[in-house]
């Protein structure tokens, strides 16, 4: 049913349609609305049978999800930012144990400085945890990816993060087609666990593994993600059969057929990029877009194929590998090894800095003209940066950086909304 609905509410409805049996969560912006809505559904009897467990921290949320999943329950949780960092040890355990938990990450920056706004630093910090990571472009896709995620996670017995841009998607009202229970039931079979804690057939899960077997266990986690490379497009195709729309898959191209310049990105910024590309196409520029939906597993071959005929590419990412440059860009460059392409990285939108069409337009023209440095920081206030550098050069006790920048920009943080 087509609804004008908040992204978080839409995702909560999608999760409920997936018949989770245990939901455990700890509130943190911008994820809170999702689990609040689910909590209300469980309390009102609208989602049953389902146990909603209020936990004391994110570490507990993931630990409870691990226990629930190991006991054979379909388990769900959601988090963001510092919340994800706080549960990291358990995040690795969920993947290491092969438990098919689905978790929404409402992508948000990581402090310090404390910042509640969107970028991709949080889930990307868990790149190597063994979790798959799927990025939604719209709230419709966020809904659809969650349904596909339960299917894929349980098939492979591996956990998945569905990543959606905090606030930009979670708090946006837009049209979403919420599927029917019949459709979801036709697509997502009941959870049939590969391993289960059952007193009538006791097993150990999570015993110590020494050098004689550890590598094999780790390799198998890698092999599972390689299987996911095969399965993700197939599951998207099956999804289309049942739900009658394109959602998910590994990558998605837009106007790339004859493109000489291709812009690569993940998440909701793809919409703004597509609008910019349409404007530039009108002006005669041969430019296209490659959206990456599956960040882990990373679709090396599909990215390579999409960039096969372009001349230059630009990875625009909401993340920063401090001391190096781009995180997504590193993977993209791996994909195009030996192709002799000019590749650029643009770091954009950190901590919720708006990504404007006007800025993108200028950036893309520079990429096309091969006039960019290898790494660009989009709309960085160089004056503020240089002032601080200057201050540090002249004064030993130059003080806290963030507070200095706020002061220089005339912003009194405590008084500004």
């Amino acid at each position: 049913m087509l609804k004008q609905i908040e992204g978080s509410k839409a995702v909560a409805e999608a999760i409920a349609l997936c018949r989770p049996e245990v939901i455990c969560a700890y509130p943190i912006s911008p994820q809170t609305h999702i689990v609040e809505a689910l909590g209300e559904m469980v309390k009102s009897g609208g989602l049953t049978p389902c146990e909603f467990i209020n936990v004391e921290s994110e570490f507990a949320a993931m630990s409870v999800a691990i226990g629930a999943s190991a006991a054979g329950a379909r388990a769900y949780t959601a988090t963001a930012s510092q919340g994800l960092l706080f549960m990291v040890e358990a995040v690795y355990n969920a993947a290491g144990l092969g438990l098919p938990i689905v978790m929404t990450v409402a992508n948000r920056a990581i402090g310090a400085p404390i910042n509640i706004w969107n970028d991709h630093s949080d889930s990307l910090s868990q790149r190597d945890s063994g979790w798959m990571q799927l990025f939604a472009e719209t709230n419709q896709e966020a809904v659809d990816l969650h349904i596909q995620a339960f299917r894929l996670a349980e098939e492979l017995s591996m956990p998945i993060m569905v990543c959606m841009d905090g606030f930009i998607l979670t708090h946006a009202f837009e049209q979403v087609d919420i599927p029917s229970q019949e459709q979801v039931d036709a697509y997502l079979p009941p959870f049939d666990p590969r391993q289960v804690l059952d007193p009538s057939a006791p097993v150990s899960i999570g015993a110590m593994v020494g050098p004689e077997a550890f590598m094999e266990v780790k390799y198998l986690a890698h092999a599972k993600q390689m299987q996911a490379i095969e399965r993700i497009p197939q599951l998207a195709e099956e999804f289309k059969q049942v739900f009658n729309r394109n959602s998910g898959g590994l990558v998605r191209t837009y106007r790339t057929e004859d493109a000489e310049t291709i812009i690569i990105a993940m998440g909701s910024v793809l919409g703004t990029i597509k609008d910019t590309v349409d404007e530039m196409r009108m002006e005669g520029h041969k430019i296209g877009v490659l959206g990456i939906i599956s960040y882990r597993p990373f679709p090396l071959e599909q990215v390579r194929a999409a960039l096969m005929h372009c001349k230059h590419f630009l990875v625009l990412e909401k993340s920063l590998a401090v001391g190096m440059g781009g995180i997504v860009a590193t993977d993209v460059r791996m994909a195009v090894t030996g192709m002799g392409l000019k590749g650029y990285t643009a770091i954009a939108g950190l901590g919720g800095r708006p990504i404007l069409k006007s800025s993108l337009h200028k950036l893309f023209l520079e990429a096309e003209a091969e006039a960019l440095p290898p790494v660009t920081f989009l709309d960085l206030d160089w004056e503020a940066v240089n002032k601080q550098l200057e201050r540090e050069k002249h004064t030993r006790r130059s003080g806290p950086v963030a507070e200095n920048i706020l002061h220089d920009k005339g912003i009194v943080s405590a008084k500004f909304g």
């Binding site: 837009e174 919409g271 006007s358 909304g417």
Partner: protein
């Protein structure tokens, strides 16, 4: 694409107003996108929310820079931030005030714009009268519908009924209806 920016303070229902605007547009079969500016949501702090209405899918996620309409829920903001930034020459402005544009000292602002598209509405008083609370957002929504002709009053009422129940819905509908007709009278005067 029609782009609206709503300025107000935490507690005045700024974000709710943008959301309801998008719901009303949805009821008219249009694409709509509403989102807040994601500040720290504290009572009294300046808050901005955005709404886009279009006949096509809305893909852009940038904040509304160039506005077709600006709704200002609290005139004390006029001294604090540039609420009119990016207003298009043929844009609409609706302010929550019982004084008119000239009395607010905003005559300069009318230069280069279309004065008939500027309007003030005593929305806080309407809120107090019909809902019993000084919340100006719903009367302003209905006033905006009347000023810009982008939405029917019926769609605003449907959006109110989706958001509120019982007496609160009844009060908001009464406030919206009075606001709608007040603005229509002023615009046609």
């Amino acid at each position: 694409m029609f782009e609206i920016r709503i300025h107000g303070r935490g507690g005045q229902g700024v974000v709710t107003a943008a959301e309801m605007l998008s719901v009303a547009a949805f009821f008219e079969g249009r694409h709509a996108q509403a989102f807040p500016s994601f500040g720290s949501e504290r009572t009294g702090a300046p808050v901005v929310a955005f709404c886009r209405i279009s006949d096509r899918e809305i893909r852009s996620r940038e904040p509304v820079i160039e506005a077709d309409a600006i709704i200002i829920q609290d005139t004390t903001l006029l001294h604090q931030i540039d609420v009119f930034a990016g207003l298009k020459p043929d844009g609409y402005v609706l302010l929550n005030a019982h004084r008119n544009i000239e009395e607010l000292g905003l005559s300069e602002l009318l230069k280069g714009h279309r004065p008939e598209r500027f309007c003030t509405l005593p929305a806080t008083e309407l809120g107090l009268k019909h809902i019993g609370r000084p919340i100006p957002n719903v009367p302003l929504l209905a006033g905006f519908a009347a000023l810009s002709d982008t939405l029917q009053l019926e769609s605003v009422i449907r959006a109110i009924n989706e958001k509120f129940k019982g007496q609160v819905a009844v009060g908001n509908i009464a406030a919206a209806t009075e606001a709608y007709h007040l603005v229509k009278e002023m615009v046609h005067a």
